[in-house]
Amino acid sequence: MNKKYFVFLLCIGFLIGLLSCQKEEKVIKVGVLHSFTGTMSISEKAVADATLLAIEEINAAGGLLGKKIVPIIYDGKSDANYFALQAEKLINQEKVEVVFGCWTSASRKTVKPVFEKNNHLLFYPVQYEGLEQSPNIVYTGAAPNQQIIPATKWAFDHLGKRFFIVGSDYVFPRTASAIMQDLIGELGGEVVGDEYILLGSQEVKPMIDKIVALKPDVILNNINGDSNIAFFQALRKAGISPEVIPTFSFSIAEDELRSLEVNKMIGDYVAWNYFQSIKTPENKAFVKNYQAKYGKERVTDDPIEAGYISVYLWAEAVKEAGTTNINEVRQKLPSSSFQAPGGLVYIDAETQHTWKTVHIGRIQKDGQIQIIWSSHKPVQPRPFPDSRSKQAWKDFLEILYKNWNQQWANLGN
């Protein structure tokens, strides 16, 4: 009798174990891949913070599909190639459902084949040079027609027709410069200079000297990272103030202004799809929550807002699809929209970029931006400027890649 009873208990135990093993996961793992160290950490850390804030808010509201979202945070170390390794780990080891990350186009270019190979999904939150359209990347930052082109046209109409272009020497600034030069040519303007420094370099003197010599009407600034600190210090030291020659920066927002001498930046120009000064109830709540979590001295800007809305857009698509399966989520992305702090945003079905409102602003003394021009409604993204054909743009990128020894940045070797 005892033996039979023991066998019966054993069977029950096995059954319970089997059922336990088959128990469904109660969490959804997502990857957060940004530079927390190195030259880009100054910009990327704040974006990661906004991503985590959005995740926290969704969890507080009951989670997604009844499950808690768990962020798996990896450091890209401001190294484009390292980003690719980390992306691989997030996808294949951590088995995350989606990745929110990258800033520099170099890092995006290196991780793009990883996401395409694994049929995974990356939400890229930063304005960029366009010329790309991957089914495995959702671009929540501005495409060229949502920042570079309108800013250059506005500058042409209002600031002058002679332009000096500066930038960090990697794919975004080089491509942005090409787009700007095409446009300025179409408008009948003139590009008097086009200078670059290595990413992270502080060697700005040569370009400053040229600016002083050539006296352009406008400086179009594509420098990224903490190189901007050296650039503006040297520019101001050389006597180039916003009143003398205004600078239109494309990688400086409210967060970067915290590291610069704001009083020497007053009057310069920026173009984004979001400013902290936007007066909507959603933005008021967003700024309040962000500062409550990370400190009252913290500011919000376009990439930060894009990092935040990326999570919500993905969550909307997941809710519509009823699953985190990437193929099904991608199907639902075009039908997902979000009342973002900066206004309603939604994913373009054709390009998987985001419809975003365009704002041009002027830097104020408190480090905030005053909006001086707005599209007033979201603009359809166009990742390929029609100044050249798609093939011509692809050839352009290939030449850059080849010249940089199969890299997406000039590493200075």
Partner: protein, 706 residues
């Protein structure tokens, strides 16, 4: 006291009904069946309704998806058409020509350009079915307007126009350098309008102006108003936010004149779904539409137009099949209920009719009518019960008859028995009287016996005193011995054991301890005889040799009891010692009985001759052995009869035995003599316990100090 009972008759009637099986059965049938049926009907109805609702919503979702796609395709195509138009050489040439007029105000030149370009511009407008077409300079001046010619010359970047729909769409095309839509709005003629603006570029792709067209509203409606799959009441509404209201963009099935006229307030709670959908929230479910009707709806936000599309269907139509189901279920419930009630009554009646009959029959039986039978034609348990009842009544009838006969017999028997008992009673009374006189006689005899017994006891006690007087006094024995004890325990009142002492001279004395045959009175007589003969031998005849004393004692007993003639066996066992303190010697002789002597911790057990005193003599002369011991140091001597060692007792009811007795003497010999006596006395009591004392016990212990 409680309230007085009103309507007594009715209440009684109701109480009666409540007690009926039919009522109770019907009640329980309904209690069990009705709720279950209601639950089933409810579940079925709502299940069907839920399924139909889900299917309807899915259908509406598919329709909305189709319509959104159609809308997007239409507008994207319109955008492309405008971009294409803006890139034609005709458009560039038109713009260029009009711009040459900016520094002049030549009316002739303007008229010339109008006639030159109006033709193809109007043709383009008609071909693409635009409501209007404007050519605008990069600075915002309207150079050409095909329909609303009053717009010509207006500056779209001026304060008048810059915040209008037209002004903004121009500004966007101007800065973004791409074609774009305006929001839905009302034009100058208060008609609904949607504009597309596109930059005009020359062959060198240089930006030279902006083309603005107004989309034909009817084309918008064609894209939206497709009622396929929407039954008789379904429709689609495209709503755009206009000020703080939702403005109808299209005419609808139920509001054929709604386009750009009808609005819904977004501030009312009832319209929250619409307000949320215009903020970008998609959803589906039940809602109240603008007519106040309940509808199933799917609402989606169309981002490209910043509008919300609501595809809906009246619930009445959606759930019409469910209503039919509900009605059918209702009929089924009624029919089932009716059948249940009929069945309950029928079944109840089949039980209660025979039971009523049986009840009536039972009442008759209770009144004593045992000659009837109940007739219930049923093969079930009630039929069996009826048969049992009939059987029971038959048995009752039989039992009653037997009981009556028995009762009659019993009376007669009781009378007879009563006579017998009376006779017996008289006999018992007589016996009682005889027993009473016998009891008196017995009581008298008892009293006499008790008196005789008391007289005998008095005689024996008197005899004991006489015997004790014969025994030597303590002073006599203490003269020779430094210490001594005598423990004499007669079995009866007088004893057959005795001790005798004679002081020969100050240094010599003779001590004897005897055990006569028998105990009690015969033993006591022997002890007196023995005492007298010893006095005669030792005191009168002067014989002081212990062995000779025994010899003469033996002869004396035989002679006194004429044992030669009679052959009686009476006599005694005896030990005798003579102590000579001066000569420091002790002499011992024994007839059967031994002596224990302890000197210098050496123990001696000397047995007496194996001959008693008196009794049968076969030998010519009875010679007793004499033993002599030197008294070289203090000596303790014990002389005793066999009464102690032959006593039964202990745990196993055995004899004490001589060996144990001697060991006891060895253990206590150094103690004071009176203490030794106490120990021997207590030991004897402890050994004997409640057993009867078998024989007289005599132990004499003496101590000789040298």
């Amino acid at each position: 006291m409680g309230k007085p009972r009103k309507l007594k008759n009715k209440e009684s009637f109701f109480v009666k009904i409540r007690k009926r099986i039919a009522f109770q059965l019907l009640f329980w049938f309904l209690v069990i069946e009705f709720p279950v049926q209601c639950v089933l009907v409810y579940v079925s109805y709502w299940n069907a309704r839920s399924i139909i609702q889900e299917e309807s919503i899915n259908n509406l979702s598919a329709i909305s998806e189709r319509q959104v796609k159609a809308i997007n395709i239409f507008f994207q195509q319109a955008l492309k058409d405008v971009e294409l138009l803006a890139s034609t050489p005709d458009m560039y040439k038109t713009t260029y020509d009009y711009q040459t007029l900016r520094d002049t105000s030549s009316i002739e030149k303007e008229a010339k350009f109008d006639s030159l370009h109006r033709g193809f511009l109007m043709k383009y407008q008609e071909t693409f079915d635009f409501d209007d077409l404007w050519v605008v300079s990069p600075t915002g001046k309207v150079q050409f307007a095909s329909v609303e010619q009053g717009m010509k010359g207006e500056m779209l970047q001026s304060k008048k126009w810059q915040n209008t729909t037209v002004g903004r769409v121009f500004e966007r095309a101007n800065i973004l350098l791409q074609a774009d839509f305006s929001d839905f709005s009302l034009n100058t003629k208060n008609r609904g309008a949607l504009y597309i603006a596109s930059p005009i570029r020359n062959a060198q792709k240089r930006f030279v102006g902006v083309l603005i067209v107004q989309i034909n509203n009817q084309n918008i409606e064609k894209a939206i108003n497709d009622y396929t799959g929407l039954g008789e009441t379904g429709e689609s509404i495209l709503l755009t936010k206009f000020k703080e209201e939702a403005l109808f963009v299209n005419n609808t099935r139920h509001a054929p004149d709604a386009a750009f006229k009808k609005t819904i307030s977004l501030n009312q709670d009832a319209n929250q779904i619409i307000a949320e959908s215009l903020k970008g929230k998609n959803g589906s479910g039940m809602m109240i539409d603008y007519r106040g009707e309940e509808v199933l709806a799917k609402w989606v936000y169309v981002p490209s137009l910043r509008s919300a599309l609501i595809v809906k269907l009246d619930t009445e139509e959606a759930f019409s099949s469910v209503q039919v189901l509900r009605n059918i279920l209702f009929v089924i419930v009624l029919v089932t209920l009716t059948l249940v009630i009929l069945a309950a009554f029928s079944v109840a009646e089949s039980f209660s009719r025979p039971i009523r009959k049986l009840t009536l029959f039972t009442r008759q039986v209770a009144l004593g009518k045992l000659d009837e039978q109940v007739n219930i034609a049923s093969t079930n348990e009630i039929g069996e019960l009826a048969d049992s009842f009939n059987q029971m009544v038959n048995n009752l009838q039989k039992s009653r008859d037997e009981l009556q006969d028995y009762a009659q017999n019993l009376e007669q028997k009781v009378a007879e028995r009563t006579e017998e008992l009376q006779a017996m009673n008289e006999e018992i009374n007589q016996s009682n009287e005889e027993l009473s006189s016998t009891l008196d006689f017995v009581n008298r005899q008892k009293a006499e016996i008790e008196k005789n017994n008391n007289d005998m006891l008095s005689s024996l006690n008197y005899a004991k005193r006489i015997q004790e007087a014969y025994l030597p006094s303590s002073e006599k024995i203490a003269y020779l011995f430094s210490d001594y004890f005598v423990m004499l325990k007669p079995r009866d009142i007088v004893s057959g054991d005795f001790y005798w002492y004679h002081q020969i001279n100050p240094d010599e004395g003779i001590l004897a301890v005897g055990d006569c045959t028998g105990h009690g009175v015969p033993g006591a007589f022997m002890s007196i005889l023995g005492n007298d003969i010893l006095n005669s031998i030792v005191i009168q005849d002067g014989c002081i040799e212990v062995d000779l004393i025994l010899n003469n004692l033996h002869s004396g007993i035989r002679k006194s009891l004429r044992q030669k003639e009679t052959g009686s066996k009476d006599g005694m066992d005896i030990t005798i010692i003579k102590v000579d303190l001066k000569g420091r010697v002790l002499h011992f002789a024994g007839a059967q009985n031994p002596m224990v002597l302890i000197q210098d911790e050496r123990k001696y057990f000397i047995r007496g001759s194996k001959m008693g005193i008196g009794g049968v003599q076969r030998e010519k002369e009875r010679i007793f052995e004499k033993h002599t011991f030197p008294l070289i140091s203090d000596t303790i001597i014990y002389l005793y009869s066999d009464g102690f060692q032959d006593q039964f007792g202990g745990l196993d009811n055995r004899k004490f035995l001589g060996k144990r007795f001697r060991e006891l003497l060895y253990d206590i010999h150094l103690k004071p003599m009176d203490e030794q006596k106490d120990i021997l006395d207590q030991t004897f009591k402890d050994w004997k316990q409640a057993y009867k004392q078998l024989d007289d016990v005599l132990v004499v212990g003496v101590k000789i100090e040298i």
